[in-house]
Amino acid sequence: MKANHVLLFYFLLVLNSVQAQVLTKEDSLTAGLIQRDAATVLSGYGSIKYQHDVNNNVARANVDRVILFVGHKFSKKISFFSELELEDAKVAGGEAGGEIALEQAFLKFNVNNDLYITAGLFTPRIGIINENHLPTTFNGNDRPFVETLIIPATWREIGIGLYGNVRAVPGLNYSAALVNGLNSAGFENGSGIKGGRFEGRDANASALAVTGALLYYIKNFRVQASAYYGGSVGLTKNEADSLLLVYGSFGTPVGVYEGDVQYHNKGLSVKALVTTVQIPDAKRINRAYANNTPEAMLGYYGEIGYNVLRLFKETEKNLTAFVRYENLNMNYKLPSNGLVNGTIDQQYVIGGLTFQPVRGVTVKADYIFKSTGDVNPALVINPFPTGRPYQRQQGFFSLGVGYSF
């Protein structure tokens, strides 16, 4: 009898948990059974990676990033969006590595069904990855290197943006934004203009920038052209004059220009992107900050992938085999006071598999073959006496998981 009671209690407990599984809102959301109409929305994405350096036979494992998205709808016309990012899992006092940063925090004002305005910290439409960087939307464990080193994604600044679509031309979108400019004192040889971003922290808004993009969805193609042009000296006139830099909102300008095409249809995906960074006053920046800034950088890549499961049946699952070629030169054109650095003239071939058992989850495996120019001895100030010679060709094998919900 006692045993029966225990069995009955256990049965009720199991029944209760089954009901809970069926009825909770979260589970229903996951199963895609109900629409999400809550005023406050919580979501996120992240990626974790193991990478083996073939040449040096060492490996590292890292939580590359975990992002928490919080959004709130105040009314039909006004919403809030934010993304808080933790890179490298841990930020401990005094230790190197790790970063907690706001990736986005902006208000969105709907003007009408075809037009809206954003104000705050946001990622302008430049290239593909800057806006679309969820790990479930690109192949390979690493984001394309051209869109990391030439276009410094994820590139966010404070400003105001206008986004709309042209009803007269179905699929045609436009965007324009005014944001704070860059800081040329932060440019570094090897990471381009990345160190000159403010990313929302105490930005010097004396230097300004404008960006714009045209994005066109036509048939199964997505075609985009985008541009950025802005100043990189947020100093007073006296300070700028003393450093012989061009003063003004758009003084000592930086231009970033990009075009890309994507094609998706029946499991086949193709994408290509070309971009350049133009810094006509690089000579002045080098004279002021001695950071070996180039006059021009150039990068391009092309990728083809195919969901091999489509060979067998129509499915939502995805097993994409892909290959990508990237070519970038961060000293494509140097001023007379610049020094060539062959190691930042780089080519990559990346091949691998992206597996998605369900939407929102990826398991990735890839191999990166990297080839660069040679080291310029003039740039090696304190050579390490027992250091290994620079390897112009390197290989990396990566395994990783990613998610987005």
Partner: protein, 128 residues
């Protein structure tokens, strides 16, 4: 440069071939929106339905003699969608949907909201 010129030429040709989708401004009558069947033409199987009370437009798709009404709201982060002859797209994060509302490209995970439809001789009634 030659490739760029070719691409520009192709794009110009495609743009010239485009015609805007008809937008029907409909009235919400007790939770029902009435769209005349005559809004569709032989060449055009897509109609955008707009109503001032609705936060997002509705895409009405004609498949033969049947119709589907889709909310033009991305299920990823609620951005408005744009439409062309092959599907609906989010210009912000790149999600894609086919003309049945199914996800064709992430980051969206869920299909688009579909509205119930009733048909009579001359009208399509969308139930909100």
């Amino acid at each position: 440069m030659c490739l760029g010129g070719l691409a520009l030429g192709w794009l110009t040709t495609q743009l010239a071939a485009c015609s805007s989708l008809p937008i029907v401004k409909a009235v919400n009558d007790k939770g029902m929106i009435n769209v005349p069947v005559s809004s569709f033409t032989e060449k055009n199987n897509l109609v955008i339905v707009r109503n001032g009370e609705l936060e997002y437009d509705i895409l009405l798709v004609k498949f033969g003699n049947t119709y589907t009404a889709l909310q033009m709201k991305c299920t990823h982060q609620d951005n408005p969608l744009v439409v062309n002859s092959t599907g609906l797209f989010c210009s912000v994060h790149g999600s894609g949907f086919d003309l049945n509302g199914n996800v064709t490209k992430e980051p969206a995970l869920r299909p688009l909201k579909k509205y119930a439809i009733q048909l009579n001789e001359s009208s399509i009634l969308i139930s909100l």
